[in-house]
């Protein structure tokens, strides 16, 4: 509030409330937002794992085997599981953001949100299918 407010000088005391540190626990939509922000930590976690994997790959077959065994650590399996859920959540919220940020018009009419988000999901599905195909072919 700027001190310029005209009637402030003679005005009775205003009451202000501070936002509590736990404001995000008050409502499911706020909590969802915080979880979405937290999901970026797990995205970073996956990047670190990927970098370690590349490092192990460069170290030769033995180093890679050691890395694979390290990954089998129950703690890491649990962390990976939680991380997967968060990254999934991250992807879904990101794709759902697309129709908010982009207004696509076709013949003067705004495309419904579902149709703007759909290509993202389709691309996701296609890339996932390709990866599954490559993995199964190797096996």
């Amino acid at each position: 509030m700027k001190p310029s407010t005209a009637y402030r000088q003679y005005h009775p005391k205003w009451h202000r409330t501070r936002v509590s540190t736990l404001w995000w626990s008050r409502k499911w939509s706020y909590l969802k937002f915080m979880l979405r922000e937290l999901s970026s930590v797990f995205v970073a976690f996956y990047v670190v794992i990927l970098l370690l994997q590349l490092h192990a790959l460069r170290g030769g077959p033995e180093a890679y085997l050691e890395f694979q065994q390290w990954l089998e650590n129950p703690l890491l399996v649990i962390l990976n599981g939680i991380g997967f859920l968060f990254v999934l959540f991250h992807a879904v919220t990101w794709f759902n953001l697309a129709p908010k940020a982009m207004v696509v018009r076709l013949r003067g009419r705004r495309l419904p949100d579902v149709l703007v988000a759909a290509p993202n999901y389709a691309a996701w599905l296609a890339v996932s299918a390709l990866i599954v195909f490559l993995l199964l072919r190797e096996g």
Partner: protein, 247 residues
């Protein structure tokens, strides 16, 4: 006796108390009554000292925004029956200083609104005698949704970013800036961008999205802000890659 419902109203009388308190009133319950009807009943029949803002009673003026059972609502469009059997807790809008009872101080919002120039800005400014600016229905459609804003500040009450950082220019002001940017008759986009590209402008928004959820007029301020971010980013890239091109 006719059915009644309890309304717990936040009272703040700065001349007699330092902290807000709650006062309960029993009002008649009617299925076609809204929270504002109950407040007016209290004012007329039970306690004339209760202060609150209202005007049109039909979701147009944007005066009667309050917190009803923890949610920011237009009290003229919030039915008692929705909260039956009660009690219903009515408090002032969150994130604003309280002047008295349910009346909040809104100068901050009005100054922010003014800073984004929510009117048609023309560089040439032709005389009215030269005729009106024409617009096609398609051009109207581009911004119509954002023009439905009634400045009720419910989105500000729902926005945790505004609550934590009062410098943030806020959802409605940005949605209204976008309303004029998208208007084919307007030429003030660059002037607004100077205000909105600052940190307290669009970049302060972390996209909680609650402004859009609570908006009683389906304006979608969250959408407006994200669209603005995209446009500002494109603008920046263009000026970075092609510094000779004028915005």
């Amino acid at each position: 006796m006719a059915e009644t419902i309890t309304i717990e109203v936040a009272r703040y009388r700065p001349e007699q108390e330092g902290e807000p308190t709650f006062q309960s009133y029993e009002v008649p319950f009617s299925k076609d009554w809204v929270v504002l009807d109950a407040l007016n009943y209290i004012k007329d029949h039970l306690d004339g000292s209760l202060s609150f803002r209202w005007s049109c009673r039909m979701g147009v003026c944007g005066s009667c925004g309050m917190t009803v059972n923890g949610e920011p609502k237009l009290t003229c469009a919030t039915f008692l029956s929705h909260y039956s059997p009660g009690p219903i807790r009515v408090e002032p809008l969150q994130n604003f200083p309280v002047v008295r009872d349910l009346v909040i101080e809104m100068t901050d919002f009005l100054e922010k609104l003014q800073s984004v120039k929510p009117w048609i800005v023309r560089k040439d400014d032709p005389a009215p005698a030269e005729g009106e600016f024409l617009q096609t229905p398609e051009e109207l459609d581009e911004f119509k949704q954002f023009s439905m804003c009634i400045n009720c500040m419910i989105c500000y009450a729902a926005c945790p970013v505004y609550g934590l950082d009062p410098q943030f220019i806020g959802p409605a002001a940005i949605a209204l800036a976008q309303r004029y940017n998208l208007d084919s008759r307007d030429q003030g986009e660059q002037e607004r961008l100077d205000v909105l590209s600052q940190h307290e402008g669009i970049w302060g928004c972390t996209f909680v999205g609650e402004c859009t959820e609570v908006c009683p007029k389906n304006v979608d301020p969250a959408g407006a802000i994200q669209q603005y971010k995209l446009a500002a980013t494109k603008d920046w890239f263009k000026s970075f890659l092609m510094p000779w091109s004028k915005p």
